[in-house]
């Protein structure tokens, strides 16, 4: 099992290199502070810190050699996580089309189910009530132009 310090360290190392490389496209502007300076400084620091993190991870890996820990993967959790993410993305995409008042109770109902709420009357009640309260506060009191369907 690779230590997560090594994984994250490598990831951040790559990010820092990417950002540093991108600064070469920036134009040279000489008034005061060139836009290159700040990102370059930050990504260099990130580069060094990521190296340190990887080093830490390698040290840990050597110390714990032999004791192979099995990674506990909670399958149900991963499914829930992905479902919630996917439905959130779907929600955002249908929001403009269906309108806030229709899309939101659907989304709340689905997330209640993902959060393992089993009583159907609670699901119906909470999803409708929450939407109505939020709609009343934001549309009617604060006048936020919420996405709407044809009629409201």
């Amino acid at each position: 099992m690779i230590k997560n310090e090594i994984i994250y360290g490598t990831l951040f190392l790559l990010i820092s290199i990417l950002f540093f490389a991108l600064t070469f496209q920036f134009p040279d502007i000489t008034i005061a502070l060139s836009p290159k300076v700040f990102p370059r400084f930050v990504s260099s620091c990130l580069f060094i810190l990521s190296l340190a993190l990887i080093f830490q991870g390698i040290k840990k890996q050597i110390q714990e050699k032999g004791e192979l820990k099995k990674l506990e993967i909670n399958k149900v959790f991963i499914i829930r996580f992905i479902l919630l993410f996917v439905f959130a993305v779907i929600y955002m995409n249908i929001l403009e089309f269906l309108g806030y008042v229709i899309a939101t109770p659907l989304f709340i109902a689905i997330s209640l189910i993902i959060f393992n709420e089993k009583r159907w009357y609670i699901i119906v009640l909470i999803s409708i009530l929450t939407t109505l309260v939020l709609y009343a506060i934001f549309r009617i009191v604060f006048r936020v132009p919420l996405p709407r369907f044809i009629f409201w």
Partner: protein, 495 residues
Amino acid sequence: MTGLIEGLAFVYQPLNLFFLLIGVCGGILVGALPGLSGSVGIILLIPFLYYMDPAMALLMMCGMFCGSMYGGSISAILISTPGTPSAAATILDGYPLAQKGQAGKAIGVATIASTAGGIISTLCMIFISPQLARFALKFGPEEYFALMIFGLTVIASVASKSLIKGLISGFLGLLIASVGIDELTGYARFSFNNPNLMTGFPMLSVLIGLFAFSQIFIELGNIGKKADLYKQKIKGVLPTWKEFKQLISVIIPASFLGTIIGIIPGTGGAIASFMAYNEAKRFSKNPETFGKGNLIGIAAPEAANNGTTGGAMIPLLTLGIPGDVITAVMLGPLMLIGVRPGPLLFTQNPLVINSLFVGFMTAQFLILILGFISVKVFPHVLKVPVSILFPIIMALCFLGAFSLNNSIYDMFIALIFGVIGYFMRKHGFEVAPMILGVILGPLAERELGKALIISHGNWFTLINSPIAIFFYVISIASVVYSMIRLKSMRKKNIE
């Protein structure tokens, strides 16, 4: 003095008092519910704040801040789960007392101590911050730049369990902040001609994602775990007069300790409460009773952690550097409502400051009243099921992200940063330094740019000011200190 009267007149308008009350109530609720903390509470307020008067919005946030600090003690006492990290020390004596059937008295003492701590720290805030602000008015861009560096390093090094991870988190925040149009030159960095990226990542969506959405994802993993409940009846709230006299002699020094810890950027309630607990134990005549339900063991940490509230506001208001995680989160919404913390606030917007002072003081009394009224309700509050709470929070967060710019792109950013925040928190990278990077990064760069313009591009101007050098030195000192601290902690763990 006339300023404070002006503040009084503002706070005691019915509507404003009502918003303060909502803030305090909400704060106690989010504090008491495990999984929600003061920072999430502030984020849940964001969508509402946008439509309020700045002074009013600030009142509500302060209520939330103080309330959550107190609310954490309730779940700590009743079910041995700290509602907020600052309440962890309260468990040590609070939970044993609750087991003996004296939960009422434990909560009563926590309420009194919290209020006293809050009052003392508010007084300190009222006296210290105008002086500090007057001093900070002399700061130029060089000093500000040094101050930003100080704020970043301190929070990254103290708030995190691992120095490297904390710093990485902070620098990632700075990198995120550098996306978008550069204020000085107008060049759009890292944006690939994408109009959404040109304006940079919307700061508040990032905030909502990193703190609130990541928490929602974490809660997904807790489904099915049985929640603890407190089943005994609550009675007998007030301590006896003899106990009270004993307690007050601990509460006052603990409150001052909390205030001082609060002023130091990067510390916070958790550190203060444990320090106060240990000191109280050390000075006690019978330290062996600690941990078995000693009332002093509740009073000391509670006075200290509420003492940090006023203390943490001091650097935030006068220097624009947050004192702890919650005030760091407050910085974002403050800018949203047009309040730019810093010494100029005291001269340009005295009403905001004065109503904040009065509001902070009022919040402490509201805590006292609400605490005693609702003692019997608290065990029921903790019964709110996660399965209902978090979907509602998610809907509110989405609406909040949307309403800031009326854009679905902002909602998407919040969701993405929620996932990023989840993975970071899961693997020991705290998100607070990242937020600070996102918020302070552009400010630091602006000050640096200003300093360089004034000095015609001479970088030595940065070390020309003694105050700036002072900040650099203490930044380095804080990093070194936390390196030593972590090393000694590791040694202790091995032994």
